[in-house]
């Protein structure tokens, strides 16, 4: 019986691993093909089944005037927007989460839990519902097709995540820490910045990782709210997906764009193994 279980366990885990890895292997193989090897039917192994070329990769770094795609600009835009919005969300979200975890708020029937729920419930809002009003809102501010406008919108996407993780985290940090600091003569701000914050770095890192993931993988707002001046990576790549799709450069661009976040998978796993994530995510 235990042997059967072990066998099934390995079978299932390996099967799922193959499923997870399949699109990546396909993309890697496709990125070295050219027009003829793509339209000739599905092939997988370079040299043996098709003649590999680097065209799909080199076209990514050429400017548009030379028939290239040039994803470098969009790449930096994506990094800038994701990091800035994540940073602002973490700062504001951590402060709000601290208040919600340590103090009691009461205004009529609205209590702490309701305020926390208000923050988190913003995730329920489907992007498409917000897209039309945001479009008009940003154009009236002159922020359409700009990095600042996108950052503004991404804060709405990311702050709920930061608040969700940090409220749970602060609820786990013992209150005695701040109380001791207050007795020692700190005012609440000093207590927060000198004592609580240094103890909250693990939670903030987890919240930060999640903000970066969900900021980096967003497509819809960037698609609706930017056109030509500012382009983010997903929009640029999906734009290649037209009637005559260059599968090779598409695959190469896709691989380049998902690469940085795969590092995040390693960091998250480290946290899991050390047991730091469990507290912050439960």
């Amino acid at each position: 019986m235990p042997k059967l279980y072990t066998f099934l366990k390995y079978f299932f885990v390996v099967l799922w691993a193959c499923f997870v890895i399949a699109p990546f292997l396909w993309a890697i193989s496709t990125s070295f093909k050219d027009f003829n090897s793509v339209t000739g039917g599905a092939t997988y192994i370079p040299w043996l089944q098709f003649e590999p070329t680097l065209d799909g990769w080199s076209v990514l770094f050429k400017p548009g005037s030379q028939g290239g795609i040039n994803i470098i600009g969009p790449y930096f835009n994506s990094i800038f927007v994701t990091l800035t919005a994540s940073l602002i969300s973490i700062v504001l979200g951590t402060l709000a989460a601290y208040a919600l975890s340590r103090y009691t708020f009461k205004a009529g029937i609205v209590k702490n839990n309701d305020i926390t729920f208000f923050f988190i419930s913003q995730r329920i809002m489907p992007p498409v519902v917000l897209s039309i009003p945001f479009f008009i809102f940003l154009s009236s501010l002159g922020l359409l097709d700009s990095l600042a406008g996108l950052i503004l919108v991404y804060i709405v996407l990311l702050m709920p995540i930061a608040v969700w993780i940090m409220v749970d985290f602060f609820n786990r940090v013992p209150r005695e820490i701040d109380e001791t600091a207050l007795i020692d003569g700190c005012n609440p701000f000093q207590a927060f910045f000198k004592v609580v914050l240094p103890n909250s770095v693990p939670g903030m890192l987890v919240a930060g990782l999640f903000c970066i993931i969900f900021g980096w993988i967003d497509f819809f707002f960037a698609f609706i709210l930017t056109f030509t001046k500012v382009q983010l990576l997903p929009v640029k790549i999906v734009a290649l997906n037209s009637s005559i799709t260059p599968w090779w450069s598409l695959s190469a661009a896709a691989l380049v764009s998902v690469a940085p976040l795969i590092i995040v998978a390693f960091i998250v796993e480290r946290y899991l193994s050390k047991g730091n994530l469990s507290g912050a995510l439960k």
Binding site: T39, Y103, V128, V129, A254
Partner: protein, 287 residues
Amino acid sequence: MNFKHKYVFLLPGLIVLIGILIFPIIFTVRLSLSGWNSFNPGLDFIGLKNYIRLFTDDPRFWQSFFRLSFLAITTVFLQYIIGFALAHMVWKDIKFKRFFRVLFLIPMMTTPVIMTVIWRTFFHESLGPLNDFLSIFGVQPPWLSSPGLAKVSIIVVEVWQWTSFMFLLMLAGLLSLPKEPFLAAAVDGASPFKKFIYVTFPLMAPISIGAIIIRLIEASKIMDTVFVLTSGGPGTSTETSSFFIFIKGLREFQMGYAATASFTYLIIMIISLTIIVKVLTKVLMRE
């Protein structure tokens, strides 16, 4: 503790969030009462006409809504079963534990639209590897151009993408469980199966509820996958609510009507998620 400090902590975040959101929300409600379209742009007032049209004369909206419910519930159910199973399998003794953990985490880190573009080439009828493999068995299913299979393709991609998120939440939960109940079960000589039913599963119930709710909220917004993989097609057979609103508002420019659909969709979403939370809590927390 001092009273005023708490507002200094809370208000910056709250004000920023409300400040960015207040206009879009009020505007959506106002827009839903107008007949704004490409011939007649502007905020006129036509009362509840849009709502009457939506509720009495638009089967397409309701079809897209039921399709969304079907897709969301199916994918989240599969993600939960597979994610929990995977988390349980790599929780304790298994070879290459960390390798599998990292690998299973990767899909959620990848941009859905970009991976869907790859999946679209993967499902390609004549040039994709899937049909190349299936041709061994002599079949070439039209993955993206038949209404039924297009839904299956979307489910496959959604499950590929988001099982890893479920896996992460469930594994984090498993790793935070106390050790004592398992020791007690071992002393009583419980079989692995019984251990799971009577110890692991009940302990994981609150985490399961949280994870399912989070995934349902995210799944209720399915849009990116549909947009790239099938564009709602063939016909309207894979159109979800978000995609319907997108077509009405930003392709046909019936802004007023799209706002009506948005607002209705949002209200239904909030009500049904509240009900689901209640039901799940009742079912999974029986003990």
